[in-house]
Amino acid sequence: MTDPFGTATTSWGRVSHARSRVAEPAHLDELAHAFRAGDVHALAHGMGRSYGDVCLNGGGHLLRTARLDRIIAADWSTGVVRAEAGLTVGGLLSVCVPRGWFVPVTPGTKFVTLGGAVANDVHGKNHHGMGTVGCHVRALGLMRGDGETLEIGPGSRPHLFAATVGGLGLTGLIAWVEIQLQPVSSSDFEAQTLRLPDLDGFFRTAEDSHDWPYTVAWVDCLAAGRRLGRGLFNRGRHASGGPLVPHGEKARLKVPRDAPSALLGPLTVRLFNAAYSRQPAGGAAARVPYGKFLYPLDGITDWNKLYGGRGFFQHQSVVPMAAAPRALQKLLELTSAEGQGSFLVVLKLFGPRASPGILSFPREGATFALDLPNRGPGTLRLLDRMAEVVLAAGGRLYPAKDATMTAEQFRAGFPRWREVESYRDPAISSDFWRRVTGDTA
């Protein structure tokens, strides 16, 4: 039964928790009704795939959008689709792939809603060419607390649009998203994996891979000394010609309960080492279904439970290109010295295409992401030291992944945050926003 004090909700990292009154409207009129009915701050919640507290609203009203997943209009001759904000990337792909269209940008999981993707202005492995998802949004339906639904876009109320893309849900409820898809002639990817001997190797290979639209690197963060930055470089492109089949719906595995987190680290590293030594120096390109290339973890339902009941953090940051080699080296030295991140670091170069959002995380430079199991104060100290390295290099942390940055760290990374605050819908707030603005609302 529903708890009178609200329903406990958590996010992907399972370190942030909040109790809120939860509504799950199934129709847009119900969303409007639920929004108006609130006497406390509301916040939209998609699939809860953010790692920290951007999607949580303790003591407030949480409006889950999962049931709002209808396509409003689709023009399959131009690839323009307008859909309710709760439609997931996976749900969209299963309809558009057979028709020869693909999402322009996707994060590393297809279990995110369009609304959530816009509110965090997500990026993918193709950022260096395609920018963020916000670069492909043509229009948004924004439901405001005063009862109005505004149609906004790059050319219509552009400031409110810029505050809403990457705006962490604060400017209103995104009721629908109109997006331009990219044409594909196959649902397969041509993919290639290359060995990286060290950090220099990463920068060189990334520079050499400009004609590959999708790139990412996995780096062993335990390797130290000369082998610092040893890793695998993954690159791919949409294959031309071939089948147009959507991903299978069935997960291959499900994690039923919390696993002892001690198991995971050594296991991933062992798997990585095996993959590394088996990988020929210049691998041949293989043809794989998009699910395998883009969403390797989606086959394991609830993999976040592998980190055990205390949950885990993710540090994801970006630093400007000029400072990147030094900063990445420092970050790797920190994690390999601590031995805490007994896991893999994900590295990628972001391209110059500017995001429309005021609070958008990506900027040209190098991004570094690492999962850290929650081992208490030591982990928090490490996260803080990593944040300081990033800020000293002129970088910033990704709110979608963050559960720990301080108000000062946030303001240093996002100096224009007040502009979004000025567009914030007074009926909306979030745990994240209260944390980083020091606002008690």
């Binding site: 529903t2 009129d29 409003i72």
Partner: protein, 267 residues
């Protein structure tokens, strides 16, 4: 923006079918309609709120439906049922499938306190439903249709709650039990014809109907899973399916539990 649909729809069990959905705003019906739309079916959506029907219709069109019509009407209202039903099937012609999906769970406690609420639960879930089924059966057994050899199906969404009266929801349960008996009689009557009657009995399904319950246990299913079970039952012409399948053994145990034992439970 126009909705141009190329021929991406794969030919499947729903290809070319015409489907009448009674209670098209239901989450289970919506999931089922999407499966049919993906195969190119034509659909008539009946529900009580035009704006919601319009949104669902647009979605089904984008997903490949051949043609979608909507009829806004209160299905619990039994006045002038015959002309209203004739109006529904006049939209896209006699359907190959009729899905009876609407219903209300209500609150047992409220029903115990109120004859009016008891009557409402029975009228919505049983009396009116029986009436639409009777009219649908009549439409599907028109002599010229009986002779065309094409298979047609009446799908009734019942509930495991109809399998045994239980203190926690016997008003809703009794209405679903009545529907069960009605469908069984109809199936008996239509035996040997080209019209099949399928009763689907879902267990716990994560839909707006159950939004007030804690839905975290292993017995909970998604509407898409129920829609898949309906699709398979229709393809195979199964008379009664539990959805998911594990409700069959569970409900067998519930049905045969001896009273002294059963009455001690809070079920």
């Amino acid at each position: 923006m126009s909705s141009q649909i190329p021929a991406a729809a794969a030919p499947g069990p729903g290809a070319g079918k015409t489907v009448l959905v009674l209670g098209a705003t239901s989450a289970i019906a919506n999931a089922y309609a999407r499966q049919r739309a993906a195969a190119g079916a034509r659909l008539v959506l009946v529900g009580r709120q035009q704006a919601r029907l319009d949104a669902i219709a647009a979605d089904l069109r984008a997903r490949g439906a051949g043609d979608v019509a909507t009829v806004a009407t209160d299905l619990a209202d039994m006045a002038d049922a015959e002309p209203r039903f004739a109006g529904m099937i006049a939209r896209l012609g006699t359907p190959d499938e009729v899905l009876l999906a609407y219903g209300v769970l209500g609150e047992q406690a409220a029903a115990q306190d109120s004859a009016e609420e008891t009557r409402r639960l029975i009228d919505v879930n049983f009396t009116s439903a029986a009436l639409w089924l009777q009219l649908a059966a009549k439409a599907l057994t028109e002599p010229q249709l009986m002779a065309d050899g094409r298979s047609r199906t009446l799908v009734v969404i019942g509930s495991v709650a109809g399998d045994r009266g239980r203190q926690s929801n016997y008003v809703y349960g009794a209405a679903k039990a009545g529907l069960d008996a009605f469908a069984e009689g109809l199936a008996h009557r239509l035996h040997g014809t080209n019209v099949k009657v399928v009763t689907v009995k879902p267990g716990f399904v994560d839909t707006p109907m159950t939004a007030h319950l804690d839905r975290s246990g292993p017995l909970w299913a998604k509407p898409e899973a129920i829609a898949g079970a309906i699709d398979r039952a229709v393809a195979k012409g199964q008379r009664i399916v539990y959805a998911p399948w594990f409700w069959r053994p569970i409900m067998t145990a519930v049905r045969f539990a001896p009273r002294p034992l059963f009455y001690k439970t809070k079920l």
